[in-house]
Symmetry: C2
């Protein structure tokens, strides 16, 4: 079993999804830690915080007030990273000109939404029931569906989803003025991951350009499909189900693994078991099963160190505007990147070597998966009463 | 002037050194910040800390004791990420086998050094004179030179450097048992960058593999050289000197810029003005000029927010074992990635969108360069007396 050797030796692993390597140093966990400690989050938050710009009924920074919403509430970020309207920028490009080669820029337009998960300020996904998480998945589906291009290969599926899923009164957004290329749904949870407001929410950034990461994934997935006639994540799901070593949890529709190529200590990937190109492909049953998967991941995270576990998560799926091939190559999955390594206060820093040379991790993904498998069940906060 | 438009609109910039894009959102600096605050570093450290594992004369975690060194002291990290001796790993690779495609691993051996900058626990590079920084550059040069392969294209330059630079009694290391491929010199400074000990020091990780980042740079620099007959950084230096907009500081040998494609708010690149392939190419005068460049960068950083500015820095140069082409394509430069954005306590988080989609920055590199240009001169701590 060559794989057991990897528990002891330094090695690199290859990430076929983005085509790059990372360094794994399993013995390095023995290192004592005298550096920065994270402040564990305050345990008691109020159910409604009058100063929170996301709570129902409150007024936001630029004067708008929030409706008395119940679960999801979507609005355009008051400090959006991209906007729909801006000055034109059309630099002259001359291929022989050094400036055109080395000082390249492209304008980016788009729209950034903030989307709450619940009206209650003190909840997190881990605290919510699957029935409470369902409106979040439904709103993601409707927002994605309403942003697809007219000629999108998934247009029929989108229309069907919009018909089947009732609109959430405060989760609806206006269609964008111009067609956009990609929608990135992501959550930053916890102060350690740059989240400035504990009110449960995610962001949805839609841009006129295809961002780097999903772009790299599409390239690799297309190459793999071209070369093998099967999907990269289709093969990967099968392989992980055979091996079992990196599985955290699964149901009929989704597999939760610490991927072979995980960078963050407890990095997790939720992968669709069948070929789901985007969230509009979900059946009603799959939407429910996806709420379960999210619940299992976030509860296990919290249980692991008995803390409100920080992470960034994000969904990768078919672009909003794409060719038939791009849609066919896409395979729905969701990444979770949590920084904690050893306890509620000791994180893994991805710094000097990681930034300058190559990502480096200490415990193996197999060890991480075993720990996450072992801490399922009820949320630890519940049992404390 | 199309470039002025970029001060106001969201856009992407291309990083030709690694072949990828990042998102720039200049208007986003107006966003109020209610998230995590960094703890500014304690102002008064002792000159010698009996509990520090780097101070002269002290005993380290695994029992070794440090010599009474004066400036640089090099030793093998007690918790190295890679080691010289480990179990063999030779997995059978079968190209048609899914596991061989999707679960790829390579063994990595090597040696990790820790290298102090000074015997004094309470100094940083910004506090040191150029004469005090010189032994650091000299030790970097001797360590690099002593790790080059027998057939290395820079072997003659290395021999000459070893002859000209007197050995520092505690800065010497043994040659590795087996030839290694790459040497990454880097510093993590400050708790915010995962540094667990304020004693001024850097790390030197040497590995049997070429890590991702310098690997990507070599590919891009080789492509550029092949296509244009000139070096990428040669053209870039000229262009930045013509434009002037992103220059922070320069002397005869080095240009300091906030690169066009900077990700971190005050990211800086020190670039050799002539074709220096590796640190062994430096003349005596260039070593001195390099100490000046490092001093100018680190002082300006500290002056900017009147704090001990955290950063990760790292040197990219020719691999330890390489072809003539790889050596010829290499161009010495040093990256600085500092996390602070607005003050000593407010950092930029590269999290959800950045990790899942694309790096995103708020102020433009031109604005950052202007600020860094304006805070030169003596270290603010000095003038306080
Ligand atoms: O070796 P140190 O300084 O203890 O550790 C620090 O730098 C390393 C190299 O960038 C990282 O892998 C660690 O996460 C970080 O805490
Ligand atoms: O938009 P927020 O939550 O205020 O900001 C947070 O997430 C963004 C997207 O990942 C990052 O660019 C910011 O640095 C981070 O603080």
């Amino acid at each position: 079993m060559p794989d057991q050797v990897l528990d002891d030796i330094s090695h690199r692993r290859y990430n076929p999804l983005i085509g790059s390597w990372l360094l794994v140093s399993p013995h390095r966990t023995k290192r004592p830690w005298q550096g920065q400690q994270e402040a564990p989050s305050k345990i008691k938050l109020p159910e409604h915080d009058p100063k929170c710009y996301l709570c129902p009924g409150n007024t936001r920074a630029q004067g708008d007030s929030n409706p008395e919403y119940e679960n999801t509430f979507a609005f355009v970020n008051d400090y959006s990273a991209v906007k729909e309207e801006q000055q034109e920028y059309n630099p002259e490009v001359n291929k022989d000109d050094v400036a055109s080669l080395l000082l390249q820029a492209q304008p980016v337009t788009g729209r950034c939404y903030v989307l709450t998960f619940s009206a209650k300020h003190d909840l997190t996904l881990a605290d919510m029931t699957t029935q409470e998480i369902l409106p979040v998945i439904q709103t993601w589906t409707r927002i994605y569906a309403s942003h697809l291009s007219l000629s999108h290969p998934l247009k029929a599926e989108a229309a069907q989803a919009l018909e089947r899923i009732p609109p959430n009164p405060h989760g609806e957004v206006e269609p964008p003025k111009r067609q956009l290329r990609y929608m990135q749904i992501f959550e930053n949870k916890g102060a350690a991951m740059g989240c400035s407001n504990p009110h449960p929410h995610c962001q949805v950034w839609t841009t006129s350009t295809l961002p780097e990461e999903p772009g790299k994934e599409l390239v690799e997935m297309t190459k793999y499909h071209g070369g093998h006639g099967r999907h990269l994540l289709e093969d990967y799901v099968k392989l992980e189900m055979e091996k079992g070593e990196r599985i955290v949890w699964q149901n009929d529709a989704f597999l939760v693994v610490c991927p072979w190529w995980a960078i963050w200590p407890f990095e997790v990937l939720i992968i669709a078991k069948r070929h789901i190109r985007a969230i509009v492909d979900f059946t009603d049953e799959e939407r429910l099963q996806f709420t379960e998967a999210i619940q299992e991941v976030t509860r296990r995270y919290d249980n692991l160190f008995e803390t409100s576990f920080p992470y960034s998560s994000g969904i990768h799926q078919a672009p909003l505007d794409c060719t038939k091939d791009e849609a066919e190559t896409s395979w729905f999955h969701m990444h979770f990147y949590p920084p904690l390594l050893r306890s509620a206060t000791v994180r893994k820093f991805l710094v000097g070597y990681e930034l300058m040379a190559e990502p480096q991790r200490d415990i193996t993904p197999e060890q991480a998966a075993a720990k996450l498998r072992d801490c399922g069940g009820e949320l630890y906060r519940k049992s404390l009463g």
